[in-house]
């Protein structure tokens, strides 16, 4: 099998990419507005949203929009993120991953184990953030819940938001670190060389199809 290593392979369709960037933009907005209400040192971020009251008004609506866009993305990528036996081995070799010794790792499908773990972390965080956020959303719903639940939801919301922001930091760094990933999500294609290096099993499948 001989393939031009620079030949483009389609990794993300137009709608997948637009969906992803919709989620990304909404996430940034909802994270910045949330952080401004989370820590006094970041309250100035509320200026980007028109001040304190507007931040309070917009944050939950942005959150609902982000979750809605994310659910669509989640359904798209669900089956490619099922954890498999070979993912365990991949994770065990995390030192090789971090040291760019990818040739020592088992063949990877469309997503590697770290991407899959990140995916499920995001699923859990997003859905929990939505459910807990509703509980203390004022003035609409908070009054319908007992105060204990409001307090618990507020704490869980803050913890899950922290975890989600951490996973997104890892996600963004991985994209900066692994050259070609940003092009994949911006323009949709990767080179055959890129695919073979990072996602060998997926690349072989793709090349076979073509």
């Amino acid at each position: 099998m001989s393939v031009d290593p620079s030949a483009p392979i389609q990794r993300y369709s137009d709608s997948e990419r637009m969906n992803h960037w919709m989620v990304a933009i909404l996430f940034v907005l909802v994270a910045l507005s949330g952080l401004s209400l989370f820590h006094p040192a970041l309250f100035w971020l509320s200026n980007f949203f028109g001040g304190g009251p507007w931040t309070r008004i917009l944050h939950p609506f942005l959150g609902v929009a982000a979750v809605a866009a994310f659910v669509v993305e989640m359904v798209r990528f669900w089956s490619d993120n099922r954890l498999e036996e070979r993912d365990r081995q991949w994770l065990r070799q995390w030192r090789d991953v971090l040291a760019n010794r990818e040739d020592k790792l088992p063949a990877v499908g469309r997503y590697n184990a770290a991407q899959k773990v990140l995916f499920w972390a995001m699923v859990v965080c997003m859905l929990t953030l939505f459910l807990t956020g509703v509980v203390f959303w004022r003035p609409w719903f908070a009054d319908s819940f007992p105060i204990f639940l409001v307090r618990l939801a507020t704490l869980v919301h803050a913890v899950m938001a922290t975890i989600l922001i951490l996973t997104v930091i890892v996600h963004v760094y991985a994209a900066i670190w692994t050259k070609g990933s940003i092009r994949a999500m911006m323009r949709g294609t990767v080179s055959a060389r890129w695919a073979m290096k990072h996602h060998r099993a997926w690349a072989q499948e793709k090349i076979k199809q073509s």
Partner: protein, 305 residues
Amino acid sequence: MSSLQSLDVKQRSATTSPSPSIRSTVEVAKLIDISKCIGCKACQVACGEWNDIRDVVGHNVGLYDNPPDLSANTWTVMRFTERETEGGKLEWLIRKDGCMHCADPGCLKACPSPGAIVQYANGIVDFIEEHCIGCGSCITGCPFNIPRISKKDNKAYKCTLCSDRVSVGMEPACVKTCPTGAITFGSKQDMIEHAAERVQDLKERGYQNAGLYDPKGVGGTHVMYVLQHADAPQIYHGLPRDPHISPLVNLWKGALKPIALLAMGAAVLTGFFHYVKVGPNDADADEGEGARSKKVGSELGQEER
């Protein structure tokens, strides 16, 4: 309310640096003697009069409580409890409900908007509505279920202890109007001493469990009660026995804030230094030290350059 002089502010919401603290003033307190209260609601009327707020006329809900709850327009409300004593007699407990002005205020701790809630050096906890963003965190933080968000403007309201009157040497409006002297106002120390006399008197008259309600869980309060049954505050329309800021709120507004920001900062820094040390993982530029794509090249049927 607008804030008093900044020199008189002891604590400010969502502010991590200390407030001006060279000047100290006497701590004040309002003492409500439940054994003297006749439930006339003059204090409720005086409160509405002085603060110039009127609640909508509601419905009789089968209780003397009127209106039935605190609201953005009702900062104090009389809570009536009918109970049968051990001797089979009716006992009517009437508690003037409203902000307790905690020394350790849960509302202030929970508030995310800098300066929307302040605690003055005299102990009064005040909402500065112009800075309020309407998020309701004060409600989440309050152990006494006091703050209410207005449906009209989405701002939180509660008793100010007439901070505007107190700042010019007057007593709160409810104190001024109380016809039985059930509500008194003065320095916190004087009120504690006055309460001790009242408790002594009640004990002599058969209320062995009479006592002062100045709960330590919230650092003491600047509104205190003399209770005939201090051993069972919950019989006074659910006055909490041991009020304190919920541990959930403490965790949310305490440890989590610095830990979360540190973790986020550490994650970004770790990424940056990882890049500095290991460098990019670049499949398409396989020259230089970082390139280990021999295998990839051969699998693609290509010799590496």
